[in-house]
């Protein structure tokens, strides 16, 4: 029982982390990114390659992959998203355009991964030492994943809520039209937000690859779960994403343990549906 709670929190912690990335991209850059999960999977494979062929530990890999995620997303925003933002007459049009373009991007990333690594399940063994936590045994890599997620998530919250830079980003999220009146460069803010989202996706990929198997086609599922967490938590709400992420991780772990591992996605969907019926604006959403 306690073992499942710990495992659920580990999984939920990573969900909360990646969902924060997605909610920043959607809330600030106004891009609904359907290729988000594939970015995570790409980072999983990158970590795998660094670890197995170059013996670089996943912790060090973070130092390489997180800046790469930031830089690559920055380029993607400049090349693909910026023209769409510029031509969109309203927010609805941008939403549709961004959904379509990132849907295309999803297939590109997935295609590249399939070409390079094939469609099989991949994993590696790192820091698999059993550790005793509150009387149950948990794999070291899981614990490490949780600690990393919490640390990076906390760092992000501090940046968003305690720095000038974070205030600018939040201002753009709240009032994209009036932010320029206060001398805020919304284009730069959107680009930065999109890139931060990419960096978080990369972080998520590294962390997840430490304790889970992954396939080139699993991106859809990660995007889906991150989207559900964002919606459950209330669009743009960071505390909401954390609570909803942990909740989803626990639900999944318990369903896998007590019902059937094949039904986890169904369970996630059920939670999503029930919540949509009761609170269409999310747990922390405004009416």
């Amino acid at each position: 029982m306690l073992e499942h709670v710990v495992n659920g929190l580990v999984l939920g912690g990573t969900y909360a982390l990646v969902a924060m990335g997605l909610t920043i991209q959607y809330g600030i850059a106004r891009i609904m990114n359907l290729s988000f999960g594939d970015t995570i999977i790409a980072a999983c494979f990158a970590t795998y390659v660094l670890f197995t062929s170059l013996s670089i530990s996943p912790i060090l890999a973070l130092l390489i992959l997180v800046p790469s995620g930031y830089a690559l997303s920055n380029v993607v925003y400049r090349v693909i998203m910026k023209p769409l933002v510029a031509r969109a007459p309203d927010e609805g049009a941008l939403e549709v355009d961004s959904i379509l373009v990132t849907f295309g991007l999803l297939f590109v990333i997935q295609g590249i991964l399939l070409y390079l690594f094939g469609g099989g399940y991949t994993s590696y063994s790192f820091f698999n030492t059993p550790i005793n936590v509150l009387g149950t045994v948990v794999a070291g890599n899981r614990l490490l994943a949780l600690v990393l997620s919490l640390m990076i998530g906390a760092a992000l919250v501090i940046i968003l809520f305690r720095t000038r830079w974070g205030m600018i980003l939040r201002a753009v999220a709240l009032a994209p039209k009036s932010a320029p009146l206060f001398g805020i460069d919304t284009d730069r803010a959107a680009r930065t937000a999109f890139a931060i989202g990419g960096a978080i996706a990369a972080t998520g990929g590294v962390v997840i690859s430490m304790f889970q198997t992954f396939t080139a086609t699993a991106g859809v599922v990660f995007t889906m779960k991150a989207l559900i967490v964002v919606i459950l938590g209330g669009k743009g709400s960071v505390p909401g994403a954390i609570v909803a992420g942990l909740l989803l991780g626990l639900v999944e772990t318990f369903v896998a343990a007590y019902v059937d591992p094949g039904l986890t996605l169904a369970a996630v969907y059920t939670v999503f549906l029930l919540l949509l019926l009761v609170r269409p604006n999310g747990i922390f959403g405004k009416a």
Binding site: D97, L100, G104, V221, L276
Partner: protein, 304 residues
Amino acid sequence: MKTSYAFALAGAALVVLALAPMFIPEYWTGVLLGMTGYVTLATAWALFSGPTRYVSLATVAFFGVGAYTVAVLNEVMPYPLVLLCAAGIGMVMALVVGLSTLRLAGVYFVIFTFGLAELVRQTVSWWEVNVTYTMGRYVFLPFEGRHIYWQLLALAALTFLIAWAMGRSRIGLALKALGDDETVASHAGVDVTRIKLLLFVISSTIITLVGAIQAPRWTYIEPSIVFNPTVSFMTLIMALLGGAMRLWGPLVGAVPLFLLFEWLSVSFPDHFSIILGLLFILIVFVMPNGVLAKIDDLRKGGRA
């Protein structure tokens, strides 16, 4: 007058297409079959997603359900009844999805449909493994390519007829209006949720039927074959290329793209998905409203 000419022309084209398998080699009948399937999928998709701008990413969820229904039921009941069952299941699924998401903002619908295919695939797999203990099924129906082709052609004709009639009806007008501004449409008396639901159900039922009719082509069916996300993707890209707001748009997009994809999948099997994705991004960039709208723009530009 103009409509009756158009109808005569469409009827003649239909007759020629129906007779084609008698004169062309078997391989090309297969190509025509696949093309007709995608023309129907893209037209049915655009029926709902075009005017409402609710981008449905769940095409293959319905398509796969149709195919799988045939795989499960083809040995226990007569074929027409199997098709009816497939249509019924697709309809119920569309009702459940629509009722839970269509009264909310469009983005919830997109997100829900985005994961729907994966959800259905996993659930069907789970069911097969744990309840029926059979992974993969055989479809033995006495159909050759041309039989399937004729069924698809009939369904395509029906889909066009529905789309045409819709465009001229009150419902078609309401659909365009709510695509522009749901609030205004509802204050003009349009029950927006009901109209969206109705169209989504019609569109999804047709898509389910395409999957059901095509099922005998595979002979062997398992979830990963019939729930292949590429189907959703190709449908979307075809409808967008031609223009999802026009009756003939999806057709104009589907024919050349289907031929291109046939060639690509044979010539570059390993890079297929990458090329597809890049092509798609290009289309969204260059022709956001489709080829037909682009041609209109160019013509107007030329005159001005």
